[in-house]
Symmetry: C2
Subunit: 407 residues, 2 copies
């Protein structure tokens, strides 16, 4: 095992030990004792690596190497330190490990950069403890509103604000940061594309937009024995027509469109009653906002047509409508060039999941580097990436940060 592999493995396992579970997974929720400990221990490691380490008001942790020139904008990399409940060792935290090791190596090897380098351990992305996502990154740009979290509680009834202040943090009193020249986030793919195509690196060009619906189909509940087929208004049958036709259409449409009917709740949901009602969910994603809107509008029209044909009523409620977020074209091009120059086995791709980068990207030139996920598993103790791929990811990030901070 070479030195970088050893360092990557050591630091991934070290961070995972804060909130580490017997099953090999990790639970490290915002403003919990595990979370506080890892942030303070990370701060100590940053200082040992000659970084200036500091928290912002809400608990985002930065480790900074000053540049040669005063007042140059910052090159930043990192990811989130919180996990989901019973998560893996990589989601979020691997991006902190990669940024820390890359910046430490660059400083040891090349000394002071032209522009300051910062590794960031973002307070929160998942929203697993409190119902609020991207708290860490949103606070960097002052786009989280104190009112957003003032009345939210965790499952034990603990207030967000009480949890925050008990850790020594508070609402952000500082103006949004406008000193960042570029942000690069290293992350596991959480899907199976890179593994299937035997690639070590994904150069991310955009994060998909999402539209989510709740749909209720209302027919008529009836006796499964005494109601002839032509007198039925069977809501499960109507659902099956909608799901079948829509998924076929999505498959025919092709990548990067994805469409999921994840939740299906018929009523009364018993063997001998024709179901009178079905509530189901739709999750549709695409990298192009116009395509996403056009496709889902067509879906809505198809559903209304099928419901009408089958004599049913339908309620279609769009409750999430997030625009796709393109990564910075110059940065993704530069990343691709670095991968080519270093002979890394990469492909250009989009992200189907949300990441802190989608908060940075509209405000700061941003890109993401993906590494494969074994079997596409994530948010799970079985989350795993081969060490060689983790190392390739750290290398790609190192080359990028060198180009951005030293050239």
């Amino acid at each position: 095992m070479n030195i970088l592999e050893k360092d990557v493995a050591e630091m991934v396992n070290w961070i995972a030990s804060f909130g580490g579970l017997e099953n090999g997974g990790t639970t490290r929720l915002l403003y919990t004792p595990e979370w506080v400990r890892v942030q303070h221990e990370l701060k100590a490691r940053m200082e040992q690596a000659n970084m200036t380490a500091y928290f912002d008001d809400v608990g985002n942790l930065f480790g900074r190497i000053e540049g040669q020139h005063a007042n140059e904008p910052v090159i930043m990399s990192g990811s989130h330190v919180d996990t989901v409940v019973n998560g893996g060792k990589l989601d979020g935290q691997f991006g902190i490990v990669g940024a820390f090791l890359a910046i430490k190596y660059l400083y040891q090897t090349y000394g002071k950069p032209l522009r300051p380098l910062e590794v960031v351990s973002l307070a929160e992305e998942e929203g697993s403890r409190f119902p609020f996502t991207y708290w860490g990154s949103k606070n960097i740009f002052a786009i989280a509103n104190p009112n957003d979290v003032k009345h939210i509680k965790d499952q034990d009834g603990i207030n967000f604000v009480d949890a925050m202040t008990s850790c020594g943090f508070n609402f952000n009193s500082k103006p949004p940061r406008n000193d960042i020249k570029a942000f690069v986030e290293l992350h596991i793919e959480q899907g199976g594309v890179l593994e299937r195509e035997q690639k070590s690196i994904g150069v991310v060009t955009s994060i998909v937009g999402q539209r989510r619906y709740n749909v209720t189909l209302r027919g008529q509940a009836n006796h499964a024995g005494t109601t002839p087929m032509n007198y039925r208004k069977d809501a499960v049958y109507a659902f099956s027509c909608i799901c079948h036709e829509s998924i076929d259409k999505a498959v025919q449409y092709g990548d990067p469109l994805v469409l999921t009917f994840g939740r299906v709740n018929p009523k009364p949901n018993v063997v001998n009653v024709v179901p009178g009602e079905v509530l189901f969910s739709i999750d549709c994603r695409h990298t192009d906002q116009q395509v996403l809107i056009d496709f889902t509008k067509e879906l809505e029209a198809d559903m209304r047509r099928i419901a009408t044909e089958l004599g049913m009523s339908i309620d279609i409620s769009l409750w999430m409508d997030e625009a796709p977020i393109p990564m910075n074209g110059h940065l993704t091009k530069l990343l691709e060039q670095q991968c080519q120059a270093a002979g890394l086995n990469y492909r250009v791709m989009h992200s189907g999941a949300g990441h802190d980068s989608q908060i940075f990207a509209p405000r700061v030139p941003t890109t993401m580097i993906f590494v494969p996920s074994v079997a596409g598993i994530s948010h799970n103790p079985a989350e795993h990436t081969h060490l060689a791929d983790l190392t390739a990811g750290v290398k790609a990030l190192t080359y990028m940060l060198y180009q951005l901070a030293y050239q």
Copy 2:
């Protein structure tokens, strides 16, 4: 309102008052205080109407008018006195009301019949308190085994045997009855066919056979954002293909085939995960056993083909396989003739639901008389039949019993 209508209305409401609920419905479960009271009050009414009233060992109640000749076989009519939880005023009990009033009227008008007449208030059909159906009728023919119920309990943990003995009943020590010449059951349709076709009477020619399945489709749970469509094994999509294709086939096949996918339970059943597994139920019914078997075998093959095409595993478990029960041809013909002679507005039909008659029919010449159910609603406080139709049903039964007992 004529006298018969008044008697029908009075007696339906009187029986419904035992276990009557504030919402207008009725809950009267086997061997409960409500059930005991109604059986004893019915016994008293039978005696007032000059019937010899008696219980058998398990609590079936009979009211008997002796015939002119000794040792003639019995003409019997009746139905079950138990209800489902929060049921209506008609299911089961209307058949007791009709038989009681018909026999009382016949005796008052024509005196002693040639053959004995018996009204029966059967102890139990629904299986709503204990997981055992047709306890009442099965005991008449000694086809219920004490072992079947020795270890079953109700929701409160009360043993079947304890509940039975506390009401003064016990296991049947008598041989099966072989003195019954004919059985006629009057019942509400519980479907919407008679109402839609504006008929007052259904002449029932058979009770459908039923096959019920539990099916488990196993694909692969995956991230709804990071898993491209062509890499998915979406179990809800596979279910939708199966349901859509099968229901279309059943509709094309036509009456009396019915097919219901009543229960659908996807896993994990959340909006942003491609469902990895679906458990669903199938209920298929037909009056012809060979057709039922052939159709469901084809269904099984279709499901296996679709699962294989989509790369999924499938478990198909047939857990109910009940043969259709034909009613007695001579009796249904006689019933039809009586309806014609009386100018009753009738149609010949099958029963899509199970009834006590299916226990009688293989052992005794049996037929059923249906009356319409408003909106096809049953097992529900809203269960209702217009008084004119209830009365037509009692008339049809009276004519039948006259033919069978006095001619």
